[in-house]
């Protein structure tokens, strides 16, 4: 674990240098530990692939004070109750009007559309991070055969529910927004509901399985 300042009001805790399940599990454990402390000094926590970012209230504490406090509290880390990951099944309509980039993926990979779909649904993905948009899951790890680069020029408008792939990740646009991932399908599952807690269907560490419709 590596602790550094992150601007004036942030702490960056890095758990590893590469995207992998072990590093991510450490991130997840530490994130739930931080949440369990329920410290008023901590305004927000942003866990992702290899790090946890803490945004703290600089009127209540400082970088060094908060780091010392957390290191002290960390002795209780093994006792923290970490919620078990939930597995979600997400039905997807692949290709055609729902997946305008599937043809590109086929030509880039040399696979047929059916093979692309079969490969995409055959992995149970881990939610590595939730962000970019409220409820947007960064899912990994995508089968290498589906590796595609991001769009050179991002689309100004990607529909809500669009399922995209980019490099070794896949994700679901929880809201209509601009975006640069290659869109291969669409789901009707609502990923974020601002009217009701816990708001986001998915949280870090959950699993996602896609099924074709």
């Amino acid at each position: 674990m590596d602790w550094t300042r992150y601007g004036e009001e942030g702490i960056r805790i890095v758990f590893g240098k590469a995207i992998n399940a072990d590093v991510h599990e450490e991130v997840r454990q530490y994130y739930f530990f931080l949440k369990s402390l329920d410290l008023q000094e901590i305004i927000d926590i942003i866990p992702s692939f290899t790090s946890c970012i803490i945004y703290f209230n600089s009127r209540l504490t400082s970088f060094s004070t908060l780091v010392s406090l957390l290191k002290e509290k960390e002795k209780g880390l093994p006792q923290t109750q970490i919620p078990a990951p939930v597995t979600h099944t997400i039905p997807v309509m692949y290709g055609g009007q729902y997946g305008p980039d599937i043809e590109f993926v086929c030509s880039y990979s040399g696979l047929t559309a059916d093979e692309v779909i079969e490969i995409h649904v055959s992995t149970v993905y881990t939610v590595f991070a939730v962000g970019f948009l409220p409820g947007f899951p960064y899912l990994g790890t995508l089968d290498k055969r589906l590796f595609v680069p991001r769009l050179e020029t991002p689309r100004l408008k990607v529909n809500e529910g669009s399922v995209g792939i980019a490099q070794l990740q896949t994700g679901i646009y929880s809201f209509e927004s601009p975006g640069g991932w290659r869109i291969i399908g669409k789901t009707d599952v609502k990923l974020f509901d601002y009217t009701e807690a816990p708001y986001s269907l998915l949280k870090i560490g959950d699993r996602v399985r896609f099924v074709p419709l």
């Binding site: 926590i45 992702s48 692939f49 948009l133 409220p134 809201f175 927004s177 708001y199």
Partner: protein
């Protein structure tokens, strides 16, 4: 009740921001000029967050149908109440039926209009602020349109307060942004970094017309990555004020609408200069100065003492 006669270019409900949900991707969407916002709340007799209007553009007008106090802070504007010039950074009592107008913005970009009553906007996860992209919070998750009406609750009439001229920061371009070193600064050579910090000639950056509430894009001499370094990073949490360098080498300053980013971070805008980001308008010139974290903290303490602590209680 207030009725929007003309919403100018963009008028929306904001407050101190939406916090505590960044782990599920919910950004703060905070008011951009936090000092002007704090001053506004104090002028209206509130010590805590209230919903206010954040407005861009000239020719804004609205009508109130109740006796209430209002105030305008942020960008310097030419304002009128029923055709009489109105003072800025001052609590003003207005009568039911009055029209409040802003004709011109003379310095800065965003101005704030608040009332001595709570705008009946939607609260989502404890904040009134509008998330424009996801269309929630504020006034039906959208900017105001001509003819919109919104109620004011719990109206009180505070004593008339004024903020001294010396407490109004300059918002004039060119802008100097002080930054502390970012995580990927070493991916750039000292030669290319020079273009970010030099004062003379070309090296100034200009604010792009493609800037918005999500980020301020700058245009100038592109920063070049060293050879054989990764240009992108593993996406991770980002905080407001981070200066990112995407592949094209043109800096983007992150504001309050994103929680995760994947571009190289060259620096973090010092907190003391962060309110200024609200007032960077297209074509404004910007330059950067690198400072140490301790200096940034000192400047922030100074801003608290010189500005925040001097506001009416």
């Amino acid at each position: 009740m207030i009725e929007i006669i003309n919403p100018a270019w963009l008028a929306m409900v904001v407050d101190g921001g939406r916090y505590g949900y960044a782990d599920i991707g919910v950004p703060p969407s905070s008011v951009l000029d936090r000092y002007a916002y704090t001053a506004l709340c104090r002028l209206l007799g509130y010590s805590t967050d209230i919903p206010v209007l954040e407005i861009m553009g000239h020719d804004f007008s609205l009508k109130v149908n109740t006796d209430v106090s209002c105030a305008i802070t942020g960008a310097r504007v030419t304002a009128f109440v029923d055709s009489t010039p109105a003072a800025l950074w001052k609590g003003i009592r207005v009568k039911a039926g009055s029209t409040i107008e802003v004709k011109e913005v003379t310095e800065g970009l965003r101005y704030y209009l608040g009332f001595s009553g709570i705008i009946d906007a939607a609260q989502v996860t404890g904040s009134y602020t509008t998330n424009l992209e996801c269309r929630f919070g504020g006034y039906f998750g959208r900017p105001f349109l001509k003819g919109d009406r919104i109620a004011l609750k719990d109206i009180h009439i505070p004593d008339e307060r004024v903020i001294d001229e010396s407490l109004i920061p300059s918002m004039q371009a060119p802008h100097l942004l002080r930054i502390i070193a970012g995580e990927e600064r070493d991916r750039f050579s000292p030669e290319t970094l020079k273009s970010l910090f030099e004062i003379d000639g070309d090296p100034w950056y200009k604010v792009s017309t493609k800037s918005n509430r999500t980020g301020i894009r700058l245009e100038g001499r592109p920063l070049e990555f060293k050879e054989e370094v990764e240009r992108s990073i593993i996406s991770e949490g980002i905080l407001p004020g981070i200066v990112q360098i995407p592949g094209d080498g043109q800096p983007i300053i992150v504001l309050y609408e994103r929680t995760i980013g994947g571009y190289a971070r060259i620096g973090h805008v010092a907190k003391t200069d962060r309110d200024l980001l609200a007032h960077l308008k297209p074509l404004d010139k910007v330059r950067f100065q690198m400072i140490e974290p301790e200096e940034a903290e000192r400047l922030w303490d100074e801003k608290i003492t010189r500005y925040y602590d001097m506001l009416p209680k």
